[in-house]
């Protein structure tokens, strides 16, 4: 998650105080990992320095910063580009799963056992996410869905790899 771009995007709706931005960020994007206030204000300061937001005059009140921030045309253009650009697909086969399976086969260890354990761990996490889906608000449901689909992809890979362990073992041991 790009915090500066997310804050910029939130500012495109309407000018806001740092406190309100943090609140909205935590509500929509930071679930389980709230954004520290310090990071909010340092990010806003950098965005202001780069001409992507403007900071209004300090307003009277409690708290460290009572400035109202507004997005500039440069900031708006950056948000527009960012939203239109697809995120690079992650190279899953380079992950630790693949490394462990190949190393296990190379070393004559129990790769099938590892995959079974990994499947169980994935399914445990899927159960937690399924519970969130059952009880949660729509935003939580959609975030859980995203995590579930990624776990499903891993599990499909685990199943396919398990079915091909013999051939994979011959390949990695043959080198």
């Amino acid at each position: 998650m790009s915090v500066p771009l997310a804050l910029l995007g939130l500012l495109e709706r309407e000018p806001s105080h740092g406190y309100d931005l943090k609140h909205d960020y935590d509500t929509y994007f930071g679930r389980g990992k709230p954004l520290p206030f310090g990071q909010v204000y340092s990010t806003l300061a950098r965005l202001a320095r780069d001409g992507k937001v403007t900071a209004g005059q300090s307003e009277p009140g409690d708290g460290p910063d009572r400035k109202r921030y507004a997005i500039t045309p440069i900031g708006r253009s950056e948000v527009e580009s960012w939203l239109a650009e697809p995120v690079a697909a992650e190279p899953y086969l380079q992950t630790v799963l693949f490394t462990k399976v190949v190393l296990a086969l190379m070393l004559g260890r129990d790769a099938a056992g590892y995959l079974d354990a990994q499947r169980a761990a994935h399914l445990r996490r899927m159960r937690e996410l399924t519970e969130i889906r059952r009880e949660g608000a729509l935003i939580d449901v959609l975030l859980a869905d995203h995590a579930l689909f990624r776990l499903e992809a891993d599990l499909r890979w685990i199943d396919v790899t398990q079915a091909r362990l013999g051939a994979l073992a011959e390949t990695v041991r043959g080198r």
Partner: protein, 230 residues
């Protein structure tokens, strides 16, 4: 092995001709547990389900239900047990298309000699719980896939069975409908304290269960073996 298992298979084997479908499979399931049986196509998972449900008998090994040996019962007693203590949900073809939805749900009760009025009252109550109250008079052939499976769940649960066996219950449904069907099946089973054993290749379905076991090449792998159930 889990102490106080409601349903237990011990070194159960079954072959079809020269093909071993299941080899010395062990499995213990406690009361009210929801267990997913997973594995590749042809791995033996449906065979395991049929053996646990007393539909098949093993070539060797033992199947126990509620402290009684299931595999040595004669056909009529196993059949009676299936009617009174077990419920079934399959992927296809379990409803009678000529009968109405309410008839289909009441049928297991009528076969068990429940009075007609009581059987239909219970059928209607279960149809309400499965959000099918308006469809009682419809023929099952007129229903969508999701509605058909919900009727099948109502029919499986109407006798208040100890165990529901489900074989790919969402296999013919789109993912959202399948999810809804599983939520209803597992949710109602938990309310009733019913044990559920579900065969599936769908990890989303397995994620609704308390735990999963894997069947591969006729052999059972239990990632939770060693007494740790959850």
């Amino acid at each position: 092995m889990i102490v106080n298992a409601l349903l237990r298979a011990e070194k159960v084997s079954r072959s079809y001709g020269n093909t071993a479908a299941l080899v010395e499979a062990d499995l213990s399931v406690t009361a009210s547990e929801v267990v997913a049986i997973m594995g590749p196509s042809g791995s033996g998972k449906s065979t395991l389900l049929h053996l646990l449900a007393g539909i098949f008998t093993p070539d060797s090994g033992e199947v126990w239900f509620d402290g009684r040996r299931l595999d040595t019962l004669d056909d009529s007693r196993r059949s009676e047990l299936r009617r009174t203590a077990f419920g079934f949900v399959f992927q296809f073809g379990q409803l009678v298309p000529e009968l109405t939805v309410a008839d289909n749900v009441a049928l297991p009760l009528l076969l068990g000699r429940t009075r007609r009025k009581d059987a239909y009252a219970r059928a209607v109550s279960w149809l309400e719980r499965l959000e099918l109250a308006d469809l009682g008079g419809r023929r099952t052939g007129e229903l969508s896939g999701g509605q058909t499976q919900r009727v099948a769940i109502a029919r499986a649960l109407v006798t208040r069975p100890r165990v529901v066996f489900a074989d790919e219950p969402t296999g013919a449904l789109d993912s959202l409908t399948g999810e809804h069907v599983m939520d209803l099946l597992v949710g109602l089973a938990r309310e009733e304290g019913t044990t559920v054993i579900v065969v599936t290749h769908d990890v989303r379905v397995a994620a609704c269960a308390d735990r999963e076991i894997i069947v591969r090449d006729g052999r059972v792998t239990d990632p939770y073996a060693g007494g740790v159930v959850r």
